[in-house]
């Protein structure tokens, strides 16, 4: 484009260097998703579900423990009131 003297070694070398290449794979064949992705997704799902179940289990145990504590407190208060009532009745 810049005159005959400009169609020189550099332009020739550029044509050679930038020649089209055959791609390393055929794009007409759909690529399967790499297996590790599927495994990673499955592991993540198991982890999330496992953590979810574990957390529910923990919450259940915690609720039972708090209920038992409430019963114990209530029972000790009741016995203290009963003792006071016995004092008054004497």
């Amino acid at each position: 484009m810049n005159g005959p003297e400009e169609t020189d070694w550099l332009e020739q070398e550029l044509r050679r260097a930038l020649a089209r290449e055959i791609p390393p794979r055929d794009f007409t064949i759909p690529r399967r998703r790499p297996q590790w992705r599927a495994w990673a997704a499955a592991a993540a799902a198991v982890l999330v579900l496992g953590t979810g179940f574990g957390y529910r289990e923990y919450r259940g145990r915690e609720a039972r423990r708090q209920l038992m504590l409430a019963f114990e407190i209530a029972a000790s208060k009741t016995s203290r009131i009963q003792a006071q009532l016995r004092e008054f009745s004497r």
């Binding site: 020189d8 050679r16 260097a17 290449e21 791609p23 390393p24 055929d26 794009f27 007409t28």
Partner: protein
């Protein structure tokens, strides 16, 4: 208004288009990005887009122009997304290990690396000019820029490449 004729009816189908143009699409991305996995990703993306837009393609000639334009756009986008990663500068291109530049087996590779280190617009203009053998007016159409700008990019890119090649002893034989 011209009716759009599906490509299948003019003897072209998706697989044939891919087979015919995959070297062009892949090479535009590869020469621009210098990253084979990323170039493959870009090519895959371009053909996925072609599949989605197949009904709008009017002729084999239209398919070629459409694929070239989308490949150029996707390669530029991928290059911009990757920009936070360090790029190879012209000064970082290793000196070729050879005593006689006339028989330098690394000349093509050195040149490709130098092209890859050009500024974005210059790089794509050089690729379209020397890989795709497009005229400046055609390049202007693909890149949506004035012809004068294309010529200016090309002129600057060639001057820069020539200077660097000569400085490395890879000049005119």
């Amino acid at each position: 208004m011209t009716a759009i004729v599906p490509l299948e009816t003019v003897g072209m189908d998706f697989n044939r288009l891919v087979k015919e143009h995959q070297a062009m699409v892949y090479s535009v991305a590869w020469h621009f990005l210098r990253d084979r996995p990323l170039a493959e990703e870009v090519a895959q993306d371009v053909f996925l887009s072609l599949h989605r837009n197949l009904a709008t393609i009017e002729s084999p000639r239209h398919a070629t122009a459409w694929l070239r334009k989308v490949a150029v756009q996707r390669a530029i986008d991928a290059g911009r997304r990757r920009k936070r990663q360090p790029r190879i500068g012209l000064e970082e291109v290793p000196e070729p290990v050879t005593f006689d530049p006339r028989y330098d087996p690394w000349l093509g590779e050195s040149l490709r690396r130098m092209v890859a280190s050009l500024p974005e617009a210059q790089r794509m203009v050089v690729i379209l000019r020397y890989q795709e053998e497009l005229e400046p007016t055609e390049i202007a159409g693909v890149l949506e820029m004035p012809v004068a700008t294309v010529k200016s990019h090309l002129h600057r890119a060639l001057a820069l490449l020539r200077e660097k090649m000569e400085r490395r002893g890879l000049g005119e034989r």
